[in-house]
């Protein structure tokens, strides 16, 4: 037993040394992809689907590590303060990269200048949904009713910093009713439960969370906040068609690395991400979720950085002014 362990140690040491000798051969060990949310959520699923294929291209396992907390900022902080060697990357989203600086005043990272973007991995459209018993049949009459009598309505969201909170705060800001009653839940599940049972009136959330309920008719969809209708829900009009063109927002997910990550590693990661998103199997799995495959431009560090900045500019003034 003992001698066996010794052989193992020697072999491992030899491996480690040879790894150090050929420093160019990135990656020579598993890569940790930090997902700043609990396993099983939309971000985690996208990370696992994309990470699975990236492992094949990179030749080393991409290990998903869920570090949940503080609206995802705990995990992103850990990833962005790790040694910038390409072995720690993070899968963040709209909230952690664009909205967090305005949401969390004490944020310990800077998504615009303090990190190395890799690329977008997937986008999930946002829908405005309401309980099925709500009088207003379409978005236009709903918007009119909310503006006329904001105190009559209850909005549900999945907690400060969540996608549903971020996107609905944007909606309320654009409608000029920032103080509308907001009912906070811990996660989308309980919020949706109370929407289905009619305890609350409306919420905004990602298509993957609400699509099946809409199809079953347990909740009503007013509009989808993207440029085009979703193939998963062809009957739901876009916000543009429904009369609220300024409400355009998507809950994208993207990969980033700490600032200072070697260019060689960045290039390989970008390449692996692109290969994953070009793979038919991976693509189909993402499309099944109702996700949108990012354009070739958005899958590059520069393209991703532009997306982060675009949404940060859109969200920051409204989030900063939102009542707490």
């Amino acid at each position: 037993m003992k001698s066996f362990a010794k052989i193992g140690l020697v072999a491992a040491a030899a491996l480690a040394l040879s790894g150090a000798a050929q420093a160019q051969a990135y990656p020579d060990r598993p890569i940790t992809m930090i997902v700043p949310f609990a396993a099983g959520g939309p971000t985690d699923i996208i990370a696992r689907i994309v990470g699975d294929h990236m492992s094949k291209t990179l030749g080393k396992q991409v290990v998903i590590e869920n570090v949940a907390g503080a609206g995802g900022t705990t995990g992103i902080t850990r990833a962005l303060t790790a040694t910038p060697d390409g072995y720690t990357i993070a899968m963040g989203h709209l909230g952690t990269f664009s909205a967090a600086p305005a949401t969390y005043p004490n944020l310990k990272y800077d998504p615009l200048n303090g990190m190395q973007p890799i690329g977008l991995a997937g986008g999930t459209p946002i829908l405005v949904v309401a309980r099925k018993t709500l009088e207003q049949a379409d978005l236009k009459s709903f918007v009119a009713a909310v503006k006329a009598n904001p105190d009559k309505f209850n909005e549900a969201h999945a907690g400060l910093g969540s996608v549903s909170w971020t996107t609905c705060t944007l909606l309320k800001g654009q409608l000029g009713v920032p103080k509308l009653n907001a009912v906070a839940y811990r996660g989308t599940g309980p919020a949706l439960n109370d929407l289905v049972s009619g305890q609350v009136d409306f919420m905004c959330d990602q298509i993957v969370s609400v699509a099946e309920q809409i199809k079953a008719g347990t909740i009503r969809a007013y509009a989808i906040a993207s440029a085009e209708r979703s193939p998963a829900l062809p009957d739901v009009p876009t916000t543009k068609e429904a009369g609220l063109p300024e409400y355009q927002i998507e809950a994208w997910n993207g990969i980033a690395a700490p600032k200072g990550t070697p260019k060689e590693a960045v290039d390989k990661l970008v390449d692996a991400l692109n290969k994953a998103l070009n793979d038919e199997g991976t693509k189909k799995r993402l499309l099944d979720l109702g996700a949108v495959i990012p354009t070739v431009e958005e899958r590059t560090p520069a393209g991703f950085a532009a997306v982060i900045k675009r949404d940060a500019d859109k969200l920051s003034p409204i989030l900063a002014a939102a009542p707490r």
């Binding site: 609990a38 396993a39 099983g40 959520g41 985690d44 699923i45 696992r48 689907i49 699975d52 998903i64 590590e65 869920n66 570090v67 949940a68 907390g69 503080a70 609206g71 705990t74 902080t77 949401t103 969390y104 310990k108 209850n154 907690g159 400060l160 910093g161 009653n181 907001a182 009912v183 906070a184 839940y185 811990r186 996660g187 599940g189 309980p190 949706l192 439960n193 109370d194 289905v196 049972s197 305890q199 609350v200 993957v208 699509a211 099946e212 309920q213 199809k215 079953a216 347990t218 799995r285 099944d288 979720l289 707490r324």
Partner: protein, 499 residues
């Protein structure tokens, strides 16, 4: 009847060689992680998600479900043997189960838990098959107001958990509630009582608190009290329950199954209340309530059945509404989503083989768990014979690794040590930690639901009394409290605060 043709479809799916094998693997892994303190089903299911990529969705979900209820079985083993409840639902089992182990009746406690769970699992499977769809409506009847009242009722149960002074039990409940408010406020994002310390931003993790005040503190207590731990080692006793034990636990199992099964259906982790409610009922209707907390077999049989029944009926909101009632079920949503099945109200009609296959596999899984666990009882009991000087370092390394892997946060391990000190202090001051854990588990939900209900009612407390279900629950709470306090009130003045 429709149900039988559906169940037949389910069994034809579940009895395929591959699915039986997957079910077995799931149950085995589940038992293993349940036994290991700290490593919960959440971390394991998350880690095993990618492995299921290659499987078909039914097989994958059968395996993951096996892990989930296997972990419930395994969790009671650790609670009974070393007094470490890995999950909120095992807290009650630890109370009398570990006492039984100390009396050399560990095997009987484990056997009773396994048999009770098996019975509860069988009944719960039938409930899901027969009543899954109609029961869905029940989940939708519970709004924030009803939920708040349910939590209040649950806290009243906690008083009964007290083994000594009722006043001290009240102290522990309130302390649990107070601890539950630590962390970032859900609505405003303000940090509350965190000392500005980032790892506390999301509050205190249940595993950290439970492992600290139960696990670590128990080690400290045992190190000091040499005789107590050697008693565990010297007596092994019978391995499996005999006829008398079974007769004694039959009714508690039946009642526990009913209570747990009902509460499990409620959204928002109602299943947590099941074991506590069952324990309360058993203690209150027992001829001699003083046996509870000192190794009463009913205190293991009832709550364990309630736990398993609740764990299974928790699938009802997921399968029929598509809404996950707790964190593990949220993971199951993730698992289904990865396989292209997005849970919703239509799963039953769109994927009947998945729906009924899973239900059938639950029954098979319960049978397998019994087959896995009964022979293991002897092995587990033998583990108690490991000298304590080696056993507690082993417990410690398992706890450390387990706690670390909950959130991959080293600080959590340090916090657990701190709560170990806290728990040791509580022991020295004569407090019982069990009511504190219940207060802690319910506190966070209670605050959320209170705030939600009051926003919706625009600040009117009458909402809790105007809604019939909520009012009914509050009435039960008052009755429970009166029953709990009355016997002590009628006693002599000197005993006012002890039951």
């Amino acid at each position: 009847m429709d149900m039988f043709s559906n169940l037949a479809l389910g069994f034809s799916v579940a009895f395929s060689l591959q699915n039986i094998a997957l079910c077995f693997v799931g149950c085995l892994v589940g038992t293993l992680i349940g036994v290991l303190p700290g490593v919960g089903p959440i971390a394991t299911i998350a880690m095993l998600l990618p492995i299921t990529f290659g499987l078909d969705p039914v097989g994958a979900l059968i395996m993951l479900a096996g892990i989930y209820y296997g972990a419930q079985y395994g969790g009671s083993t650790t609670a009974i043997l070393v007094n470490i409840p890995g999950e909120a639902t095992a807290v009650v089992t630890a109370l009398d189960g570990h006492e039984m182990a100390k009396q050399g009746r560990a095997g009987i406690a484990l056997g009773t838990a396994a048999l009770g769970s098996f019975f509860a699992g069988c009944v719960a499977t039938l409930i899901i098959a027969a009543l899954g769809a109609p029961l869905t409506k029940m989940a939708l009847l519970f709004g924030p107001a009803e939920y708040f009242s349910l939590m209040v009722m649950g806290l009243c149960f906690a008083v009964v958990l007290a083994r000594g002074s009722i006043l001290k039990a009240f102290c522990m409940i309130m302390l649990g509630l107070l601890l539950s408010t630590v962390g970032t406020d859900l609505e405003t994002g303000q940090e509350r009582m965190t000392f500005g310390f980032p790892p506390l931003a999301d509050g205190i993790d249940f595993a950290v608190l439970a492992m600290g005040v139960f696990g670590f503190a128990e080690v400290l207590r045992n190190l000091e009290n040499k005789e107590a731990r050697d008693v565990v080692r010297s007596k092994i006793g019978r391995l499996l329950p005999n006829w008398d034990d079974i007769k004694q636990s039959a009714m508690p199992v039946l009642r526990g199954t009913m209570i747990g099964g009902t509460l499990g259906i409620l959204p928002g982790n109602g299943a947590v209340l099941g074991p506590f409610a069952s324990y309360t009922v058993e203690k209150k209707i027992a001829k001699d309530p003083s046996r509870f907390g000192k190794g009463a077999i009913e205190g293991v049989a009832g709550p364990e059945s309630a736990n398993n029944a609740g764990a299974q009926t928790a699938f009802i909101p997921l399968l029929t509404l598509g809404i996950p009632p707790n964190a593990v079920m949220a993971l199951m949503v993730g698992a289904m989503t990865i396989h292209g099945i997005i849970p919703g109200p239509q799963v039953m009609t769109k994927n009947p083989d998945l729906f009924w296959g899973m239900i059938a596999s639950m029954w098979i899984g319960n049978l397998m768990l019994l087959i896995i666990n009964l022979p293991l009882v002897g092995l587990w009991v033998k583990l108690l014979q490991v000298p304590y000087r080696l056993m507690f370092p082993a417990i410690l390394i398992f706890c450390c690794i387990g706690i670390y892997s909950v959130n991959n946060q080293p600080m959590d391990v340090a916090f657990t040590a701190m709560f170990g000190l806290f728990g040791y202090l509580l022991i020295k001051l004569g407090f019982e930690p069990a009511p504190m854990l219940l207060g802690f588990v319910l506190g966070r939900l209670m605050e959320e639901k209170l705030r939600q209900a009051l926003i919706i009612s625009r600040g009117s407390f009458m909402t809790f009394l105007e809604r019939p279900i909520s009012a009914g629950l509050l009435l039960v709470a008052v009755i429970v409290l009166v029953i709990a306090l009355l016997p002590s009130m009628s006693k002599k003045r000197d005993e006012v605060f002890t039951e």
